[in-house]
Symmetry: C2
Subunit: 415 residues, 2 copies
Amino acid sequence: MSAVDWSHVFATRSERMRASEIRELLKLLDQPDIISFAGGIPDPKLFPVEAIRKAQDDILADPVTAAQALQYSVSEGFAPLRRWIVDFMGKNGVPCGLDNVLITCGSQQGLDFLGKLFLSPGDTALTEAPTYLGALQAFNSYEPRYDRLILDGGNTTPAAYASAAAANGGRVKFAYVVPDYANPTGITMSVESRDKLLALAEELDVPVIEDSAYQALRFDGEPLPSILSLDIARSGGDIEKTRTIYCGTFSKTLVPALRVGWIVAAQPLIQKLVLIKQAGDLHSSTLNQMVMARVAETAYEANVARAIALYRGRRDAMMAALDASMPKGVSWTHPEGGLFVWVTLPEGLDGAELLARAIAEERVAFVPGKAFFATDSMSNTIRLNFSSPTETQIAEGIGRLGRLVARMAGDAAAA
Amino acid sequence: MSAVDWSHVFATRSERMRASEIRELLKLLDQPDIISFAGGIPDPKLFPVEAIRKAQDDILADPVTAAQALQYSVSEGFAPLRRWIVDFMGKNGVPCGLDNVLITCGSQQGLDFLGKLFLSPGDTALTEAPTYLGALQAFNSYEPRYDRLILDGGNTTPAAYASAAAANGGRVKFAYVVPDYANPTGITMSVESRDKLLALAEELDVPVIEDSAYQALRFDGEPLPSILSLDIARSGGDIEKTRTIYCGTFSKTLVPALRVGWIVAAQPLIQKLVLIKQAGDLHSSTLNQMVMARVAETAYEANVARAIALYRGRRDAMMAALDASMPKGVSWTHPEGGLFVWVTLPEGLDGAELLARAIAEERVAFVPGKAFFATDSMSNTIRLNFSSPTETQIAEGIGRLGRLVARMAGDAAAA
C-alpha cells in the first residue's frame, strides 16, 4: 500500500484527533496473565441479561411494537424512556418535563454534541485537571482552548478566566465537571464547590456541563445534590431558568453496549441538541430505547444495588492493598463510589515508565495519569480501575505494583 | 417559562441548525385520513422480525456472547459484521479488507463524520442540486460553502470550482453524490458521469463521497458499477490508491432502527474516522452489530428481493397514476429503483403552496422540493415517496393531487 497524503483535505480540527493510549491498554485486558487496572468498564456479571432478553422478546413478539421498534423514530428519543428519565430525575431533585430530555448514544455522544453546540475554534472550555479523557477527545474536534477550572484554593477570578479567553481569541463557553467520584480521580466535589461553580458560571454567563456517569454508584455516605438540582433550587424551582446541562447514562448502572444515555437541560438547549442529533445520526436505536425503557422500569434499582455491593468490595480491597503494599511517599484518593482511584507517586517517578516496567516485570497494567490532562500534566500519577478485577486480583496486582514502585523509588533515591 | 437567550454561548455553526420541514411532515403519517408521500422510510412489513428475534435470543442465551454483546467494544466495529461487509463489497466490485471498513450509526452518522473530517468553516462542498437534505444538515454543522456540482451539460472547469472556493476563503474539500435513484430525484448517474466525477475529483485532488443508501433497490435493468468500484479499476485494483468514500447502510434493505451503516475507504481515511467515532460515541451498539451480522448472513438477499418486488409495484403504480392524473406541463422522473419520484410543476406553481392546499383540500402530503437545495432552489418541484403508501393509496392520492394541480394551473392561467 502506498501512503496517500490526505492532509490537504482534512479540516484543521483533524490535527487534534489522536488515538488514545487507553485504547491500546484495553487490549491488555484480553491477555489472561495480565492483571489490568487499565479499563473503565463495568463487570459483565452485572448485566441484566435476562431482563434484556425478555424485553426484546416481548417487543418483537407483538407485531405493533415490533414494527415500531425497527422503524425510524423521532430524534429526541422514545417517549416512554424519556418519561422514565423524567421520573428518575424528579426523584433526584430535578423536576423537569419530557421536553427537557434528549436521548443520546451514551453520555459520550452528549459530550460531542455539547462541544458542537458551544465551541467555535479558539473558544475556551473550563475543565478540571485531570479530567475525563473522552470529554477532551469529544471537545478537541471543535478546536477549543482549555483553561484549568480551580474551585478550591485557587485565586482565579471570573474576570481573569474571561480575559484569558479573550486574549486567546475566543470566550469562555462552558465549564465541564464530573462531580461524583470523577474519572480519573475518584474525587467527589463538595456541595460548597458545586455552589462556587454555579456562582462562577453565573458570573461568566456560561453553562455548566455536569457529567454524572458514576453518580448512582455511591458506596458510602449520603448522595450529594446534583449541580442541576442546586441550580434549580437557586432558580426558583424552574429548570427553564437554569444553566446546568446534565449528562446521564445507563452504561455504568445497567449496560453500556445498548448505547443509551441522556441529556437533561432547559428547553432552548434541548431544542438545539435535538437538531444536532437529527443531523448527527437521526435518532438512537429505537429497539434499544424500547428495551431500556422496560429494563430500567423493572431492573434499575436492583441492578444498581448489586453494582454498589460488588464495587464497594473491590474498592475496599484496593484501599487495603494500597495500604499494605505501597511504600512511603505514595498517596491515593479514597473514592466514595465509582470505578477509579488516583495514585500520586513520589516526585520524579513517571507513570508511563512505571507502566512499561509494570507490564514487563509484573504483568500489571493501568493508565498513566498524563492521559487525563488537557495541557500541563502531572507525570507522577496513575489511574487504577477497580470495577473489572476481582478482589483476589486486586490484592495480588496491587501487591506486585507496590513492590515495583518501592524498587523504582529506591533506585531513584540511590541514584 | 422565561425565554433564556443562549445565543452568546452558541458556536457560530449554530446559525446553520434549523428544524427540517420534513420532520413536521412526517407527523402527518400518523393521521389516518392523510395519504402521505412525504416519508422516506421503508415499509415495516419488510422488516425481518423473526430473524432479528432469533439472533438476539441466540446471542443472549449464550453467556459468552451475551457478555460480549452487552459490553463496550472497539470503535471500528464488530469484526464479523465488517467481514460480511468486506464480502458484500467484494461481490460488488470493491475488493477491500477489514481495515477499510468502519461501522457507523446509519449512513447519516457517516455523513456527519465526513463533514467533521474534511470541512473547516468556509470550505466548499460540491453537491448536486437538489440533493439529500440529511447530508446538507450534517455538513451544515461544519459551516461549508456549497457549490453546485454539474457533470453533464455544464461548463464549470475544475479550475473554476477551485478559484470560486478560494475566493470564498476556503478550498474544495469533497464532492458528495447519491448516484443511484437519488434522494430526492430518483435519478441514476450514468457510468459516463461517474467517470467524469472521478476525473474532476482527481483534477481537484479531493475525495468523492458516494452515498449508496438505495443502491441495492434496483427494479429494472443491470446494476451500474459503484463509483468506488470504478475508482478501484482506475487505481490498478488497489483501494488504497482510491479517493472514493463509500457510505452504505442496512436501513433500506433490512431495518433502519438498529442504526447500522458503514463506510468503506482507503485505510488512512478509515483510521481518522475511527478516531472520530471514538470521540463521537465510542462505538455503535455491540448487540445491534452482532444481530446485524447474523441477520445479514441469513436474510439479506431474500429481504432485498422482497423489497424490490414490493417497491417496484408501487413505483409502477405511481408512474401509472402520474400518467393518468397529471395535467399537461407537469413532468417527473422515472426511477429505476429506490424510494422517490421528483415532480416538476408548471413554472410559477409553488411546491409549498401546493402542499398547503393538498393537505387542506385533498388530504395528501409530500415534501416541497425547495427543502433539498443548498442555495438557489427550484420552487416548482416536489418529492413523492412510493415506499410507504400502498398501490391503492398511490392511485387515489396521485389522482387527488393531479386534480388539485390542474385546478391551480388553471387558476394561474386564468389570472
